[in-house]
């Protein structure tokens, strides 16, 4: 379990520095926007190729729209009780996957 422990320690350290990571990310975001604005567009295949930071805007707006859409579809149409098709007999595996060949 040595490798596992070391990895766990690393992860723990990362999680502890969550705020730092967050700032790092925000910085990165700002950087890609700035670069995109400064750097001229390589392509002009589509009308939006010329808009600076279009992809960022599209992604952000798209994510919000998608989340809204999911909520609408979920609550409006497809959500049902978990046992809608009849109660599942045992919801949780007994932690050994396919290897409970007891017979």
């Amino acid at each position: 379990m040595n490798a596992v422990n070391i990895t766990a320690k690393w992860l723990e350290a990362l999680v502890k520095r969550g705020r730092l990571l967050r700032w790092l990310m925000l910085g990165l975001m700002a950087a890609v926007i700035v670069i995109d604005i400064l750097k001229p567009a390589k392509y002009s295949r589509f009308p939006w190729d010329g808009i600076p930071a279009f992809t960022a805007l599209y992604a952000f707006a798209g994510a919000l729209v998608l989340i809204g859409l999911y909520k609408a579809i979920g609550y409006g149409l497809v959500y049902r009780r978990a046992d809608y098709y009849g109660a599942a007999d045992d919801d949780n595996d007994n932690a050994s996957g396919g290897s409970q060949d007891a017979g």
């Binding site: 999680v15 805007l57 992604a59 994510a63 979920g74 599942a88 007994n94 396919g98």
Partner: protein, 561 residues
Amino acid sequence: MLAEWLHPALVLAFGALPLAVLQGRARQVWQLALPLLVLLLVAGLEDGARVTLELAGLELVPLRADGLSLVFAWIFALILVIGNIFALQVDDGAQHVAATLYAASGLGAVLAGDLITLYVFWEVMMIASVWLIWRRRRQAAYNAGFRYLIVHALGGMLLLVGIIAHWQGTGSLAFDAFTAGGAAFWLILAAFLINAAAPPLHAWLPDAYPEATVTGTVFLSAFTTKTAVYVLARGFPGTELLVWLGVFMTLYGVTYAFLVNDIRRLLSYHIMSQVGYMVAGVGLGSALAISGTAAHAFTHILYKALLLMGAGAVLQMTGRSKLTELGGLYRYMPVTFLLYMVGGLSISAFPLFSGFVSKTMIIEAAAVDGRGVVFLLMTLAGVGTFMSTTLKLPWYTFLGHDSGLRPTEAPLNMRLAMGIAALLCFLIGIMPGWLYAILPYPVDYNAYTASHLLKEMQLLLFTGLAFFLLLGVLGGKDKLSLDLDWFYRVPGWRALAGIRNGLAAIDGGARAAFMRRFHAAEAWATHLRLSDWPLRSWPIGSMAIWTAVVLALLLLAGLGG
């Protein structure tokens, strides 16, 4: 040439048999040796190799190797090695036999040079794969497996009829692009699309895969849909319908992936979504698009297997697979978490990881074609993919609130398998030249341009921003999301039962009525027998009267007339 006689699929199929009886270490050794042998055989296949054969009056080509089929052969052989390492600790011969036969049929299908051979392997694939679901040994798995089997049997029949129609229409059984059109075209396309899980024929996939065994899902994710992608690329390149169907698939998949609660179901919907890119790529049909499709299938198999191995490891170690029941596992399964994240970054096309070098090819192909809407929607699907696979799932499974579960890390062989897959994802990500070299068409494509990198980073980072802003409302819901399988699970099933009961009622009613009459007649006969009437002797007088009557009638009629 050796490989012409040692068809990799047949070697694999016969090699599967010892797995049924081997035990313990011997089985594990064979389980590793066999895929490696097959990998060697595939390596020995030359571009252009061909084997022909005559069977039941038909000219067959059981083996045909060319650029397109070899890409799939390679990745199938490769994933079999990885999957078998992952499954090494599973002590269930039936499952190993099924998985190996399944892989064999997948290999056979992509190497098939004629439609009959394709059909044969197509059906074997169905038969073998269902065991990977059933061996989960839960009622839900039996039922889901059964639905899976029925849907695929339907697909198989559509394929059979389509092949027959094609055969009768053109007189040819060769498996090349279908250009004749007509019923054959649509039937075969429908059969392929069922296996590709294209809506509205997709519901079997998210229904069945999450119910499969932990190791079985890994194999399932690799072969069925990718074989379908291969046959679509072979048979239907440049079909306009497929572009839109593929785009729709990508969005449909990510949408449902967001709605479901089970992590393996979530990933299953992502298979659908990713296959959508490939289907769209086939539809675009340009050399770049087809190559991109092949490349994406290659990378997809690796990263999806990796993701499902990660989710499977969680399921195996915790016994749970619902987002609402998981959380905070990173402390206990850190390696799994990290390796899973490699898969997550790959599927969302994060630069330096494999998805980036393949998915962008397809999107680029759409852009080259000047299809703006397709381009935008595919990009949007990428947003959804990143949100649910790479952010939501790990967040609520490994990070987030502590669910109180205290599992141990997955066994070594599982981690090893995940590690190999992750390593390949990474290697392909940084050295795509290896992959590009085996693509069916020579490609002049470089993923690592500044423009691509910049756009991809924008996309991912701002998607992440939106995700973390709305984190509070994104958790899993302990709900069931209806999909199109509802139509056959509820009204379809009721209709079938209704017809059956109706028939039984008619049959039973008719039989009962007949038997009632029959028994009544029997009772009457018995009564007569017991009542002595038929046994009674007639008095002499009545005999004489009858004689007189007959004579009189005869004479009267004769004399009168």
